[in-house]
Amino acid sequence: MPSTLQPALAEHPFLRGMTPEALALLTGCAKNHRFAAGEYLATHGTQADRCFLIRKGRVALYAASAAKSVIVNTAGPGELVGWSWIITPYRYRFDARATEDTLAFDLDGACLRQKCDDNPALGYEFLKRVSIELGRRLDDVQLRLLDVYGEPDGG
């Protein structure tokens, strides 16, 4: 089955431009996954053994406490959900949950790590792409830290 996924993987914005060789390696770790609205993709604190490339739908990342859960970020088509698999101690930092019916590539983290370890060129390329995503998220968090829209009573 994996070989049928490769063309679709190649189209995903996160992987766009990767060499066929690299894609072939990744394809071995990938499968299609449908999540119904409300279904969890990942749970805070558990072993981060997967990551997802969203194709359709939307996924929200939650920071949850007993009293309430707050959405800290969302990811839509073309975006990556999950990088904890590449960073020790390989545990999810948030809850990830589909807010609508979502279609994603489901990549096996352990498999990816192995491929990246075996093939540093692939590993570097993959890490660069994850880093862009990380940088974007950091910008986002920084901007929101500024609370730029301001407290209405702040004046």
Binding site: R58, A60, I71, E79, D140, Y149, G150, P152
Partner: protein, 284 residues
Amino acid sequence: MAVEGFVPQDGSDPMVPEPYRIVERRRETSHTVTLALSSAGEVPTRAFQPGQFSMLYAFGLGEVPISISGSTARRDRLEYTIRGVGAVSKALCETPVGAMLGVRGPFGTAWPVAGPENRDLLIVAGGIGLAPLRSVIYQVLERRSHFGNAFVLIGARTEADLLFRDEYPRWRAAGLDTRVTLDAASGSWKGSVGVVTSLFPNVEVRPNRTVAMLCGPEVMMRFAAQALRDKGLSPHDIYVSMERNMKCAVGFCGRCQYGADFICRDGPVLPFGRLEDRLVLQEV
């Protein structure tokens, strides 16, 4: 692009407000109100262009610059969406229908709505910044076929802070791709969370035919403009609406100076390309 706002032709003092009456008052959010004003004096209600602002005077309390948020088609009224942050704006928010306010203006430059046919529009609004862009949206709705793709990207602090929310379906129905993202959302929110730039990845921008109009907090506009440049937009096709302390609105008081521009007179709408050098400096 530079348009003249109201200029008294009789040489009278531009610092003297004209009397306007509140004809409609609508609460938008807990801290935001839209007032519709009509002239109560001898001069008919003044015309404006999207992006311009007026100085609104609450009797005895003072004056604040407020962007016009209504439709240019309504010649009988000027609409202002006001967020109550200071003494004057809070008082304005609480002024009832029928009461009188002093109005000076409209002043300042306008959004470049007029221009070549079939241009793509990218309207990016953060918080209260949607107010002056609504006038643009209304013009686009009237002449939708004159434009190519049209996106309205809206960032807000929370769901409760979304402005003009009941209008979005109408905008969408008329072919404006209207998207929303929040800074903070509860678990029940189904939409996007993140700053307004987080909506960009899924927006197809065609560099040579797109004009972008940005209004929101300065830091948001700076990030958004930068992200649009990364998407290939020329800094001269990105317009921002700047905010500075204003007292006179006519270039006399010097308070709103930003580099070589007085925001009241040379702005508030300015091409990003003109400001790029300054935006990277602190405390200009």
